[in-house]
Point group: C2
Chain length 191, copies 2
Amino acid sequence: MTSTTPRRRNAAATREAILTSAIAAFTEHGYDGVGVRDIAADAGVTAMLVNRYFGSKEGLFTEVVDVSFARPTMVPGTADGLATETARTLVARTSADADHLGPFELMLKSAANPKAAEIMRSAIRRHVGARFTAALDGPDADERAELGIALIAGTWLMRRIIGTPALRDADPDLLATQVARMLAVVVEPPA
Amino acid sequence: MTSTTPRRRNAAATREAILTSAIAAFTEHGYDGVGVRDIAADAGVTAMLVNRYFGSKEGLFTEVVDVSFARPTMVPGTADGLATETARTLVARTSADADHLGPFELMLKSAANPKAAEIMRSAIRRHVGARFTAALDGPDADERAELGIALIAGTWLMRRIIGTPALRDADPDLLATQVARMLAVVVEPPA
DNA sequence: CGTCGTAATCTACAGGTGTAGACAAAACCT
DNA sequence: AGGTTTTGTCTACACCTGTAGATTACGACG
């Protein structure tokens, strides 16, 4: 419940409030880590309204994934400095005091559930993968794009979710440089 | 229940059976995806024996992580061809028909739970990270080792858990080459 | 063969899960 | 104002979760 006005009776606004709460909750705790009651309470409504508007918890998650993955994240549109820019943004977003928590956190936190994984698979291809692929030249763009995403996801996992010390306390500039050099391998079109 | 002998009353063997079942179950479904009853039933005992021998579900998971991460996986001891060898093994282990399912699957499937994540953090540093770091020369070995682990974990996630098509159907040799080139960035000592 | 320690089970609890169905109330439309 | 549709809540179900306490049965040893 973030809106200030009590919002008496408004289907669209209520739906939006539930969706907003769900994005935050699923991203922070993962599909299995949240109950529909938690989401509903945070949106200021009853649990049953969730099923009323989204059919089921699974239906709600489907919409959450679609919205979260549709927002441009991390990958700039142009190929100029793609590796460097992406690496810098990644390091910033995964720093200890960052608060953005985008689709990568959502993906990693919900990957354990097979149903959630299947829902995310298509969304990744349609949104994140498509954006990344479009920025690449040369052959095997899909495969190279997904390898880039894999590096980003893995770094996010180690640095922010598992929290391994060496990556957590690494110098941001040095880390960004290393990640950029790894990304460059798949970003630069093969000679 | 994999052992052939009925095993009537044997504390050590029972403990081992529970641990074996737990490793398989936690690796396949993640910390939140399994109940102690599932593990106990698979070991041929009652749920209460789990708490009797391991204190709690969390205690059992701690021991599972320790055992699973202690086994050498993927990273060869020598630095010769480390990147190439590791990449080849990774691609083989994440192929559709692979059945090994080591610590990386366990880590990714259980990362959503904060308690599990904390348990895995120290184990990774003590086991996997230490092995990888020891194989590296030059400065910032810890950081570079964890970046290598991040790439492996991310590739595992995309290829085997999420199952994105481009990485799933990629030509194994080509994929291994790409991964090896990315790994080489952190494996080769900086000039 | 009886006794004793312990491996293993049985019963149970307090809480949480997603969701179905019946009900209350607010808002809109004549 | 009266009636109807929509918006929201309440109660409830069937099931699963981890774990505590009391109880049974097996096996070895004297």
